[in-house]
């Protein structure tokens, strides 16, 4: 990787929560979410906490549990920390079920990592990419928007969309819920790229590209494609690669059209006139990215070799109508294949509620009950990071600034010290302590933080953590 700059990447996921009650009163989803966070509040005295793995866990507007991975530089670390987030939130659900049982409610709580509920409310999965500030932002976004409009062909999670008795299989969960190309707002206008400029780093050097168009992905290989292709396109643009004008006349319409066309062949109107298909757009960007990667010496470097190979194979599979080539690796293809088999076996109409249930259960993060873990055990969902690495990521921060934060949080928790922290600041809540500002997200060793942690350890003997504690 010496030939290439490192990049900070992270994913924020809003989870859906469903619950079935067999006994006792039924609770509204907001109340279930509050039960989910009782353990967090008991641990951190707040429903908005940073954990020892450097991540942030909080109860978002709309009562969604939200997990933001720590700052990662290794793409496979992003995968591990994204999966760790699923297990951490599942752990909250297990705890909440127990609390409900103690109060006489026999309930099963489902944590669903998808992006749409049964009434069409949408919640997101936001990718963050740290980019250099030099140059105009438009140089990046002019190409990135059309890339993201068509990226769903390789990174969509798929969705069975049912209106009355009409069922449509969509490539993307999120496409129908995007309303603008670029904007600084998120809730009201839902842009593809959010331009709100909070780098959590030196603002003179960096900006944070906040991509909110992506589907939450269960498949590890699809998550790799999602962040890996985007990272490569960004690298290529940052390196000054000349890219032809790919701008679309109406990105918001185009993203819906692409989602409704699993063949990738529907013509999309270009801003400069004429049309281009999603498949051709992705092909062109893949070729440019491959050439860039070869020139930069990373085409054969893991995991970029895998990203390029799988990107190419997916486009080839769509182009040749041979989706079986990627049916253990690309999520919308995997899910479609399962829905088809299931409908076939039970003789179900395309809009049947059992298929809609299957679509939701696909996103169940439960390690035994979730459909993707079941497919993994049957060899039908390829993985890239093993269970041990994911388990480690639940407690160990990646080797970035997250390590400073994670070590600080762990020490403060073990010694029962009140503290305040965010992505950049660390502070013990007592009059004598100063705030430590960690501006550089790449720096994982800092004498000031070591001193701060030493002062915590010198202050009192550690308390052992409760088993199964959040942190």
């Amino acid at each position: 990787m010496s030939a290439v700059d490192r990049r900070i990447i992270g994913i924020e996921t809003e989870f859906g929560v469903n619950a079935t009650f067999r006994e006792g009163p039924r609770l509204a989803p907001e109340e279930v979410a509050r039960y989910l966070f009782r353990k967090v509040v008991a641990w951190g005295r707040s429903s908005n906490v940073f954990l020892s793995n450097g991540s942030r866990l909080y109860l978002d507007v709309g009562s969604h549990p939200e997990y933001a991975t720590a700052e990662c530089v290794d793409l496979l670390d992003v995968l591990a920390h994204d999966k760790a987030g699923e297990l951490i939130v599942q752990d909250l659900a297990d705890d909440a079920e127990q609390r409900l049982a103690e109060e006489g409610m026999d309930a099963t709580i489902y944590v669903l990592k998808n992006n749409v509920d049964s009434r069409g409310n949408s919640y997101g999965s936001h990718e963050n990419y740290l980019i250099r500030r030099d140059g105009r932002l438009e140089r990046v976004t002019d190409t990135l928007v059309p890339f993201l409009v068509t990226r769903q062909l390789v990174s969509g999670a798929g969705r069975l969309h049912v209106v009355g008795e009409r069922a449509t299989y969509l490539v993307s969960q999120r496409a129908d819920h995007m309303w603008e190309g670029l904007s600084s707002a998120t809730t009201r206008s839902r842009p593809i790229i959010n331009t709100r400029d909070e780098p959590h780093a030196d603002p003179e050097r960096y900006r944070r590209l906040h991509v909110i168009v992506g589907d939450s992905t269960m498949s590890q290989t699809t998550t790799l494609l999602r962040i890996g292709t985007t990272d490569l396109v960004l690298r290529m643009l940052e390196a000054g690669t000349i890219v032809p004008d790919l701008a679309l006349a109406n990105p918001v319409q185009a993203i819906r059209d692409v989602s409704r066309d699993p063949t990738g062949r529907r013509p999309l109107a270009r801003q400069r006139g004429g049309t281009i298909t999603a498949l051709d757009m992705q092909r062109e960007l893949l070729e440019l990215a491959s050439r860039y990667a070869a020139g930069a010496g990373i085409a054969d470097t893991a995991p970029y070799d895998q990203v390029l190979e799988l990107w190419d194979r997916t486009l080839h599979a769509i182009d040749t109508d041979n989706l079986a080539l990627v049916d253990t690796e690309v999520e919308w293809v995997m899910k479609k294949s399962l829905l088809d088999s299931y409908a076939d076996r039970h003789g179900l109409a395309p809009h049947d509620e059992r298929l809609q249930q299957l679509d939701l259960a696909w996103h169940d993060v439960h390690p035994r009950r979730g459909l993707v873990p079941i497919l993994q055990r049957a060899g039908r969902a390829r993985t890239l990071v093993d269970d041990a690495r994911v388990a480690r990521a639940m407690h160990e921060p990646p080797q970035t600034r997250a390590r400073l934060r994670g070590d600080f949080v762990r020490a403060a928790q073990e010694h029962r010290r009140d503290f305040t922290c965010d992505w950049v600041h660390l502070k013990l809540n007592d009059a004598a302590s100063r705030t430590v500002v960690c501006k550089d997200p790449f720096v994982s060793v800092d004498a000031r933080v070591e001193e701060l942690i030493a002062s915590i350890r010198a202050g009192s003997a550690p308390h052992t953590e409760r088993p199964g504690s959040v942190g």
């Binding site: 809003e14 079935t20 978002d60 076996r345 509620e353 049957a378």
Partner: protein
């Protein structure tokens, strides 16, 4: 883990052993093996889904996020 083992053994039970007389590459045998594996997978999935699909789907209503 015991459940995982159970699932695995069930899959093994369901996979037919190819008869020694039948060439292993025979397309029909391959098909049968694939179908048996898929059947066992769909069985496992049926075993983890809530029985009332309608209730599960209709109850899943969230407030908008972000």
């Amino acid at each position: 883990m015991s459940e995982q083992q159970k699932f695995t053994s069930r899959r093994d039970d369901a996979a037919p052993e190819p008869e020694p007389a039948v060439p292993p590459a025979a397309p029909q045998a391959q098909h049968a093996e694939r179908d048996a594996a898929l059947d066992s997978l769909l069985d496992e999935i049926d075993g983890v889904l809530e029985t009332n699909a309608q209730e599960f789907v209709h109850n899943f209503v969230q407030k908008g996020g972000q």
